[in-house]
């Protein structure tokens, strides 16, 4: 009988069992997960074992020890352990399927617009390299469950009705990443299989988050990250392929020792465990984390009181956190009647930002006072909030611009409580407010007068300015500066989160190298800026209250958003 946790969930759990920095507010568990200190200890012990005698551990004993971890996970997901292998992460598992299937002309892969980014790219590669047609259903979320099922089934039927085409594979999620939304996957799998399609369920957000019964679901392929919601150190994912489909998976990704050619050059051992052996070793890396499943299970049972207890708290705190956030931000939570999208540890809260319309943009007089975001800056806002939230307040706000609106995705977890979301929401509110300040433009800092002066707008007017932007990573700056390349060159500072920007003094000269490379001939002053450690001190002292005049407002043109990773 699982006991309630001895250490209460929330901040006490965070302080007792997790290793977050005290200045870090972890409201985004969903992207990379984390693991408790006890699992880390188990991991360290495993690593020490390897270093004491590497060869026996890696070459001889690992596979059988891995079998135990795999069996434990297979038990939880309710499948046979010879149908379940470990891969480093969901992206690898899914791409293994995409690159293995014997695609035929006319094959179509079906997905919806919120398919995970790297999977979308995998499909693009398939299209380019293998001529497989990806079919994306473009429809705005949120969508009621019935409608999700209907749209996928109807589209499948439409495609199948076209001569020479068939939906060979359909991809759906257990829980979509961005927005964070549960999908009626239990209904989609049989519905699409009934139309003759194989179904690949992207359960990246799966084990430890939502109930998975592979014996009932019976997907054709399934993958779930253990490092996201199961407290196993990254990266570790379970990859499920039922026996009936194992012959389709010819190779691991990368191909390695376990590959068995159809025409063997040498006598090979019997094919019994071919699928498992294929993935036992796919190249040397540190896979000691795969063996941490038992330690994670122990923690979840002994310290947290079991899966149900964890899930109950996470659902509750997600609901509370979302409500609090919506209240403070003065907005609402994404939902729609007839949807179970919120039956998970994600909630999406609308951010108090609005995009200026084309008409409003043209009406320049009002534009500057309306507090809205210029469309030219739209893609940069999300990344700016992410970065500034981190550097100023130790909070990473997972946020994104989706079809013209900004959303904050929160992750409920056993180590956060209401006060955390209250604090986060206040910080986010202030960050959003900073974007509303009129006259958003590039500003230059004059060291002699200690003043910020607005630069003329328009990239072609920027010449020979020395720019000081504290606490932005060079990568971010370079990506989003979007200025005329002939005016400015950048050199990245390679230390933690700090940025060194160089600008050219001579407007007539053109750079001989692209931004990001050191152009000796065009060096000007280098302005060393605050290091990351100091940004931490700022945030510990409550810096970033949002009203500091010395903070230059930053806003820049950009062509497109950097990775909106989830």
């Amino acid at each position: 009988m699982p006991q309630p946790p001895q250490v209460p969930f929330g901040a006490p759990m965070r302080h007792a069992h997790f290793a977050f920095s005290p200045s870090y507010l972890p409201l985004n568990h969903g992207s990379y997960g984390t693991h408790p200190v006890s699992v880390r200890a188990a991991h360290l012990a495993l690593r020490a074992e390897v270093e004491a005698a590497p060869d026996p551990f890696i070459a001889l004993h690992f596979a059988s020890r891995l079998a135990k971890s795999r069996a434990a996970v297979a038990g939880l997901l309710r499948c046979s352990s010879d149908e379940l292998v470990f891969v480093p992460n969901a992206t690898t598992g899914i791409d293994t399927v995409l690159k293995n299937l014997d695609w035929k002309p006319g094959d179509v892969v079906l997905c919806y617009e919120l398919v995970y980014g790297s999977v979308a790219n995998g499909l693009s590669w398939l299209e380019e390299a293998r001529g497989v047609e990806p079919h994306v259903i473009f429809r705005e979320w949120p969508i009621a469950d019935d409608d999700i099922v209907k749209m996928m089934v109807d589209t499948t039927r439409q495609i199948n009705a076209q001569p020479g085409k068939r939906v060979r594979l359909a991809i759906c999620d257990t829980i979509i990443s961005g927005p964070g939304a549960r999908v009626p996957f239990e209904r989609l799998v049989p519905a699409l299989q009934a139309e003759g399609a194989m179904v690949l369920v992207d359960g990246a957000h799966g084990i430890g988050h939502v109930d998975i019964d592979l014996g009932v679901m019976k997907p054709d392929f399934f993958v779930t990250n253990l490092h996201k919601w199961f407290f196993v150190p990254r990266g570790c994912a379970a990859f499920y392929v039922p026996k009936k489909n194992q012959a389709l998976i010819r190779t691991s990704l990368p191909t390695s020792h376990g590959f068995k050619p159809k025409r063997p050059l040498f006598l090979s051992t019997p094919e019994e465990n071919a699928f498992e052996e294929l993935f036992d070793f796919t190249g040397t890396s540190d896979t000691t984390n795969y063996l941490c499943v038992e330690a994670a299970l122990r923690f979840r049972h002994d310290v947290c009181g079991g899966e149900a207890s964890i899930q109950q708290y996470c659902r509750w705190i997600t609901e509370r956190g979302a409500t609090i956030a919506a209240e403070i931000l003065g907005t609402h939570i994404m939902n729609i009647p007839g949807s179970r999208m919120r039956e998970c540890n994600f909630a999406n809260i609308r951010m108090p930002l609005e995009l200026r319309t084309e008409h409003e943009v043209n009406n320049r007089e009002t534009a500057e006072q309306d507090g809205k975001v210029d469309p030219r800056h739209a893609n940069a806002v999300s990344d700016w909030i992410k970065h500034v939230g981190c550097t100023e307040s130790g909070t990473y706000f997972q946020n994104f611009l989706y079809r013209g609106n900004w959303w904050w995705r929160i992750s409920g977890m056993i180590y956060v409580e209401e006060a955390d979301f209250r604090k986060g929401a206040h910080v986010l509110k202030q960050l959003c407010a900073r974007n509303h300040v009129p006259c958003l433009g590039r500003r230059s800092y004059d060291e002699t007068s200690d003043e910020y002066n607005d630069l003329p707008s328009g990239p072609s007017d920027i010449r020979c300015q020395d720019l000081t932007i504290p606490d932005l990573s060079a990568d971010y700056t370079q990506a989003h500066w979007g200025l005329d390349e002939t005016a400015v060159t950048f050199v990245e500072d390679i230390s933690l989160g700090a940025c060194r920007i160089k600008t050219r003094k001579c407007p007539e000269e053109k750079p001989t190298q692209t931004p990001g490379s050191l152009d000796e001939a065009h060096q000007s002053e280098t302005l060393e800026v605050e290091r990351f450690a100091k940004a931490e001190i700022h945030s510990a002292h409550g810096h970033g209250a949002g009203g500091n005049d010395e903070e230059p407002m930053w806003n820049a043109l950009t062509e497109g958003s950097e990775w909106s990773t989830f």
Binding site: A52, G117, W125, F259, P261, T282, S285, A474, D475
Partner: protein, 444 residues
Amino acid sequence: MHPADFETAGTGGGDANSSFGHAMRNKHFFFAPSYRPLNHGSFGVFPRMVQEYQQRLQLESEARPDTFIRYTYPALLKEARASIAPLLGASTDEVVFVQNATSGVNTVLGNLIFKPGDVILHFSTIYGACLKTIQYLGSNNPVESYQIDIEYPMEDEEIVQVFLDSAQRVRSQGKTPVVAMFDSVLTFPGARFPWEKLVDICRKLGVMSLVDGAHGIGHIDLTHLGRVGPDFFISNCYKWLMVPRGCAVIYVPFRNQHLIQTTCPTSWGFQTTIDRAKLNKSEYFVKLFEKISTTDNTPYLCVPIALQFRKSHCGGESTVMSYCTKIAKDGGRKMAEIMGTETLTNVTGSLQQCCFVNVRLPVTLADLDAPDSKGLHIAKWMQEKTPAEYETYIPIKFYKGGFWCRISGQIYLTIDDFEWAAETLMDLCKRVKGGEWKTVSNMG
């Protein structure tokens, strides 16, 4: 937290004159006291100083996961790339990291576009997983492979000649050798390969050269690599550079970067050909590999600290590699003396210009009254006995009718380790001669 901060931190501080051998081993490495580490080449090891730094990084990745992974990591990654590029005589933006050489080889070969008639040339000494990769590729793409059989000992000139002959033969069959894959240092036997000469030949023949330098960085000097100019080069850093597993570098000179479209797996950085054409030429390659998929990539970030360790505690790359090469040579000679056998050499000694030595065991099939077909099994039996009963690991293979072992020279070894190896192998051979190998029923 910066590699420079670790110069004198930790238990290894201030002893830049730590001598090689047991002092080095006890002070800087983690081996169980009774374990004899004679097989550095397979999985590598890393010293305390590097481990401490890696652990700091790992702690940071849990202290602030998003901050570390999204912002800190890319900056440190670039630093790591910048620190390793000079070892390959390359530019920073010509090198990227992946988990291991197998991944690297899969990435490169998986990107090449083949047409009917195309042939991949490789030697019979190719690493197993690489052969599997080529086989898989052939099952899915219009490309064949052509294996060039070689048997050691061989002189460099012989290798070059047989390569030329093979390319010629393929052409005479109306086919096109498009890429040749060969090692910098072979896995088994452990032998330096005349890769520079072959790269040159490939260029003259119009064949792309893919050098599998799994045993490369930190093992042999590669600072001339950029000048030699292979089309692709892949090397593990966790093997001989004392970086934690897994970490390998893919070198793609600027002129070839347009050939690399996707990582393995395909991920965030991928862009279609059309979209990619809009980008600045040199932007794509580096960005492509910056974020592949979620794994613990802290090993990549340990390259600078590993180099720092080798410099401040081991006297630098040349010193390390010289010692490893010499101890392997001297140790091997000693083993051959004790066992009454020989080391694998060629006339010029070129194959021994590496940190491996291959010594023949004092047992033959004739001694065992066993047929050729049992050679593999007997070798495997012996090899598996070494960790099971002798607290070491010695790769033993049946090669050219004899039983050979491969020992890896390293800075934590001295001659007496090789003497011990010889005595251990003699004991093993005695047991083999006693027929113990026959009692094991399973082949696998």
